[in-house]
């Protein structure tokens, strides 16, 4: 089998990422590639166009982990495409929202299902599709509308990114991935939606053949690099309660 590269460190895994990339960042609470994001934060990469569910906040963690919010706060994110670009409640403040409001960062706000499907389409060689989500709202402004069977839909174009950071539960040396429960979320579709897909793995990477072919969530053929989360890495989100 064609094999992905197995990197020795998070730093190595992100070492050749250039400025200006479009980057897919999965996660919905669990399933966020904290280790790769932290490694990227520790490079000088900038002008990133991040595709992510929510722009988030700078990390409040004291263990050194960084989030997309930290990259945003440093002005290294040129644009975000997200389902949450600002807190819904006016009482909450967000650096990202302030940067968008003042023109320091470009933003594209899209319905969450549209975001997921645009990346799925990109990874599936489909340049555009129609969805009913957002019709009659500001998010459909300027987009092409079309009726099918008496209902109005809006055309949405695919996203196929330069890079994807992925967080997997298990992986084999062929790059096959298994995710755990709700940590799956955007990971399988984002793994297919980029030219270069880099995966941080929670468990030891096992030899090809050890993961049952029927239980693979992401086939290894789309994976470029794997790196195991080291003992001092950021392993799991800590329960908040």
């Amino acid at each position: 089998m064609a094999r992905p590269i197995i990197c020795n460190s998070m730093a190595e895994a992100v070492s050749d990422i250039p400025d200006g990339i479009q980057l897919l960042v999965p996660g919905f609470g669990p399933g966020t590639p904290h280790n790769l994001l932290t490694a990227l934060f520790n490079t000088s990469v900038k002008d990133i166009h991040a595709v992510v569910n929510g722009v988030g906040f700078p990390s409040a963690a004291t263990d050194g982990r960084k989030s997309l919010g930290d990259l945003i706060a440093q002005g290294r994110v040129r644009k975000v495409t997200a389902a949450f670009t600002a807190p819904t409640h006016p009482s909450q403040q967000s650096i990202a929202a302030e940067m968008i409001r003042t023109g320091k960062m470009e933003a594209e706000l899209v319905p969450q299902g549209t975001l997921a499907e645009r990346v799925r389409a990109g990874g599936a060689g489909i340049p555009a599709f129609y969805t009913p989500a957002g019709v009659g709202t500001l998010t459909a402004t300027g987009k092409e509308h079309r009726d099918f069977n008496g209902r109005t839909y809006v055309m949405e174009e695919a996203i196929f990114a330069d890079y994807a950071f992925i967080r997997a539960w298990k992986a084999d040396t062929a790059g096959n991935l298994i995710f755990r429960l709700a940590a799956r979320n955007f990971n399988p579709i984002f793994a297919m939606g980029a030219k270069h897909t880099i995966v941080e793995v929670e468990n030891p990477i096992v030899p090809a053949g050890e993961l049952p072919p029927d239980q693979i969530h992401t086939p290894g053929v789309v994976i470029e690099k794997l790196v195991q989360i080291p003992p001092d890495g950021f392993f799991r989100d800590v329960p908040r309660a």
């Binding site: 919905f28 389902a83 600002a86 807190p87 409001r101 709700a182 979320n185």
Partner: protein, 233 residues
């Protein structure tokens, strides 16, 4: 404070009360999506006999109540990223498949939080600014759900903190969907939204339909079978 709001010296229904009122209305076996915020409380008030399946945008099909403490599984969360447990028969799908199911119309109902709802069934819940379109806001899955769920119910406060009505003739804030809301559950009552009209179906204990109408920003029909909300047992 508006004059109308002074009526509100009376006690309004608590969020838990509203959640329970919503929960008891689900017919048996419904697939229910609960939005971020107040609606996630509804999950705690269904009866096992109702056989409700709760689904979440992140691909969790079949979850139970909100958990806390140290026994939570950090990889099991609902749409509000609150820890929940999986029920027997739960299944996990990825985000694109999750919204495939949502767009396909899987959900009998989505219960969403809401700033404003209008008599045409439009509602607003993702942006508090009326300014120029600047791509700022928090949509999440609300637009997909509002466009595709078989019914849209909103759970909300009847008035703003200043006493202004949130049930309106037309939404002032940017809408989440231009139509679709069939029921509104507020701290003052239960309202059906049909044929461009609000109808009061149940009123909060101690309140009169007239008092509620006075706090409503659109014409309010009174159902011939209107009654006081019963707190479900």
């Amino acid at each position: 404070m508006t004059e109308a709001h002074t009526i509100a010296g009376k006690e309004r229904m608590s969020r838990d009360f509203i959640a329970a009122v919503i929960a008891r209305r689900f017919p048996k076996g419904w697939l229910v999506n609960l939005g971020v915020g107040m609606p996630t409380m509804v999950g705690g008030y269904v009866h096992p006999d109702q056989e409700i399946v709760f689904t979440s945008e992140n691909g969790v099909i079949g979850y139970g109540g909100i958990l806390s403490g140290n026994d939570v599984d950090p990889d099991v969360v609902n749409a509000g990223v609150q820890f929940v447990d999986l029920v027997p028969g739960a299944a996990i799908v990825h985000h694109a498949d999750s919204f495939a199911l949502i767009r396909r119309g899987m959900n009998h109902v989505t219960v969403l939080g809401c700033y404003e709802v209008a008599q045409d069934g439009s509602f607003a819940n993702w942006r508090t600014s009326m300014g120029e379109w600047d791509n700022l806001g928090g949509i999440g899955g609300a637009m997909d759900l509002a466009a595709c769920a078989q019914q849209v119910w909103v759970m909300m406060e009847h008035t703003t903190r200043e006493g202004a009505p949130r049930l309106l003739e037309h939404c002032v804030l940017p809408v989440t969907a231009p139509s679709g809301v069939t029921m509104a559950f507020t701290d003052l009552g239960v309202f059906s939204v049909k044929n461009g009209r609000f109808t009061l179906e149940e009123y909060a204990p101690g309140w009169t339909p007239e008092e509620i109408a006075a706090l409503t920003g659109a014409p309010l029909d009174i159902s011939p079978t209107v009654s006081e909300v019963q707190f479900p047992r």
